[in-house]
């Protein structure tokens, strides 16, 4: 039996390796846990009924009683991100379908992939600057919610394209072949077989992009700007949660800083809810 026993040296190596991996995991968890802890401790304190139902008043000099809530920021974020998704998700999935089903390894497809990768690495403020120069300064007009949406959609696009491409590549070639062999035109194969099969995976990628966009401040600062009032017109100035947090957290008034924490918690909870809803939809739409 001794022949097959684990030697002490192997046992030691095993313990060291396990210890190292566990230590790394714990170190990575510490900031995550702390973020959630502070978000809940400071953010829950700021939450109240009126926190969600009133606009910020802009009056921050006379104590915390009448600073207002974050209604305009919540609605602004929803509107801006919804429009950004409406632009980026169909476009991005379209590009991914083209890359996988038609472009394949052609030089043009390779060039598209290269530029998409470059775009993924572009800092978000650069998208904001680009939209600022083209749509704000360039048109001689001013800030607007939809300009913020465009900046965010540029940010989302590469994430959507790359994640959708990876998922589409996972759809077995045999499925495409059997559909084509039935005499189905290629566009029908894509719409009726490939996309439904890839749907659950693509939703995950889209959500990552939405979550990233919803938390961005820089592209919105000089495109959608900030405002106090709730605004349903994407052509006007529009408030958003990240911009509100950015402005509040630099305030000298404690109550306003606390409002930033409340807004941050709200943003995290909104993204969490979006995740849950999308996952439920994905599960229901899948038969197998």
């Amino acid at each position: 039996m001794a022949r097959f026993a684990v030697s002490p040296a192997r046992q030691r190596k095993d313990r060291i390796a396990r210890g190292a991996v566990l230590t790394g995991t714990v170190i990575a968890l510490i900031p995550l846990v702390l973020i959630v802890y502070y978000l809940l401790r400071k953010g829950l304190g700021a939450w109240s009924g009126s926190f969600f139902t009133t606009d910020p008043t802009g009056n921050t000099f006379f104590g915390g009683s009448n600073i207002g809530g974050i209604k305009s920021a919540i609605l602004g974020t929803i509107e801006i991100v919804a429009l950004a998704s409406a632009i980026a998700v169909p476009t991005g999935i379209g590009v991914a379908v083209w890359l996988v089903e038609y472009g394949k390894n052609s030089w043009f497809a390779q060039a598209v992939r290269f530029f998409v990768d470059v775009l993924t690495g572009v800092p978000s403020i650069v998208f904001g600057l680009f939209v600022y120069i083209v749509l704000v300064v360039g048109t001689g007009s001013t800030y607007a919610g939809y300009k913020g949406s465009i900046a965010l959609s540029l940010l989302m696009l590469p994430v959507v394209i790359r994640s959708a491409e990876v998922i589409l590549l996972l759809v077995p070639a045999a499925l495409r072949e059997s559909a084509l062999a039935l005499g189905a035109p290629r566009w029908r194969v894509i719409f009726n077989i490939v996309l439904p099969t890839a749907l659950p995976g693509m939703i995950t990628g889209v959500l990552l992009a939405v979550a990233r966009a919803a938390g961005e401040t820089a592209p919105l600062l000089f495109t959608a700007a900030a405002t106090l009032k709730t605004n349903f017109n994407l052509g006007g100035f529009m408030n958003s949660l990240p911009v509100q947090i950015y402005k509040d957290v630099t305030s000298p008034t404690t109550a306003v800083v606390n409002r930033a924490w409340g807004a941050a918690l709200t943003l995290v909870v909104m993204i969490l809810l979006l995740n849950l809803i999308a996952r439920l939809i994905a599960r229901r739409s899948r038969l197998a």
Binding site: L175, A181, G183
Partner: protein, 309 residues
């Protein structure tokens, strides 16, 4: 392709040259195709006696390969094959792995070109209609020439019913009684009795053999005239294999069948004629009995007696 995107008539041929052939074929298919009155109400036992319930069923087509060459990049895998698959016959293709059997068969419905870098030369004639003619709509060819793959591959997001209906829906052959068509296809594939009470269950939930018969039903639903089978039983157990073989025997009354197989007993059981391929070339083709008992070529004999391959 016609401007409105519809398919040219594959069966629309010069009446003079093919009339004799046409008539023979018609006779044969009439024999083989009992009218609906003989079928009505027949509860099916597997394998079912419901082949060709449609009195307007198209006659099977013969397939002729004329100097067919197939390439992957610069590598020639099929090296100029001349071969005829006769209408309403089962032709088996045997040969060692990598000899170009599957590649050759995939050229018939132009699936070969779906692989990046793959191309084919020469002619493939459905009766006297060249599927490689520049004017041909590949979609129309694939509706006439169905295919069953090595691994059963029902569409994973679809129910049993939708899998069979998929061929009709995807190829825009809507209209008519979809349920009746699905039932007819499932009966023809000998699967109806096993799934009639759970048509809404996912197709991927069936057993391997049932999945493969589902795939056969799916290709039958679009009413093809030729069916290509690329090792259809290699992933199945002997019982499921037997069912598919019985099915092939039934189906040849209605379609021309080309079956690639590594299993020589299978070729002997199902095929009217057998072709032996080696290194991308056709070595010989003949009645199955002859290929297995007194082949003309010594290489065929060595292969069928298990000396190589």
């Amino acid at each position: 392709m016609t401007p409105d995107g519809r398919t040219p008539e594959l069966t629309d041929m010069d009446p003079e040259s093919s009339s004799e052939l046409e008539r023979q074929r018609q006779d044969r298919s009439n024999e083989a195709t009992p009218g609906p009155h003989r079928i009505a109400g027949t509860a099916t036992i597997s394998p079912p006696a419901t082949i060709g319930t449609d009195p307007q069923a198209k006659p099977a087509l013969s397939v002729k390969l004329d100097q067919l060459r197939a390439f992957y990049g610069n590598s020639e895998q099929v090296k100029g094959i001349d071969l005829e698959f006769r209408a309403n016959e089962v032709t088996a293709i045997i040969g060692p792995s990598g000899c170009g059997k599957s590649t050759m068969v995939r050229c018939i419905n132009r699936m070969h070109e779906e692989i990046p870098g793959a191309r084919a030369e020469g002619r493939v004639l459905l009766e006297d209609f060249d599927v490689y003619d520049p004017s041909v709509d590949v979609v129309a060819v694939r509706r006439a020439v169905g295919m069953v793959f090595q691994k059963p591959n029902p569409f994973p997001t679809m129910s049993i019913f939708d899998n069979v209906a998929a061929g009709l829906r995807l190829s825009a052959k809507r209209g008519g009684d979809m349920r009746a068509k699905v039932e007819a296809a499932l009966r023809s594939a000998g699967l109806w009795d096993e799934v009639a009470d759970r048509l809404d269950a996912p197709g991927a939930g069936l057993s391997g053999g049932q999945q493969q018969r589902l795939c056969i039903a799916r290709s039958l639903a679009v009413d093809p005239e030729v069916i290509l089978m690329d090792e259809p039983c290699s992933a199945l157990d002997p019982i499921a294999t037997l069912k598919i073989e019985e099915l092939i025997d039934q189906l040849k009354q209605r379609v021309t069948i080309v079956i690639v197989t590594h299993n020589m007993q299978q070729a002997a059981r199902v095929a009217d004629r057998t072709a032996f391929m080696l290194g991308g070339e056709l070595i010989e083709i003949g009645p199955t009995q002859e290929i297995f008992t007194k082949p003309n070529d010594s290489r065929t004999e060595e292969y069928v007696t298990g000396k190589f391959g």
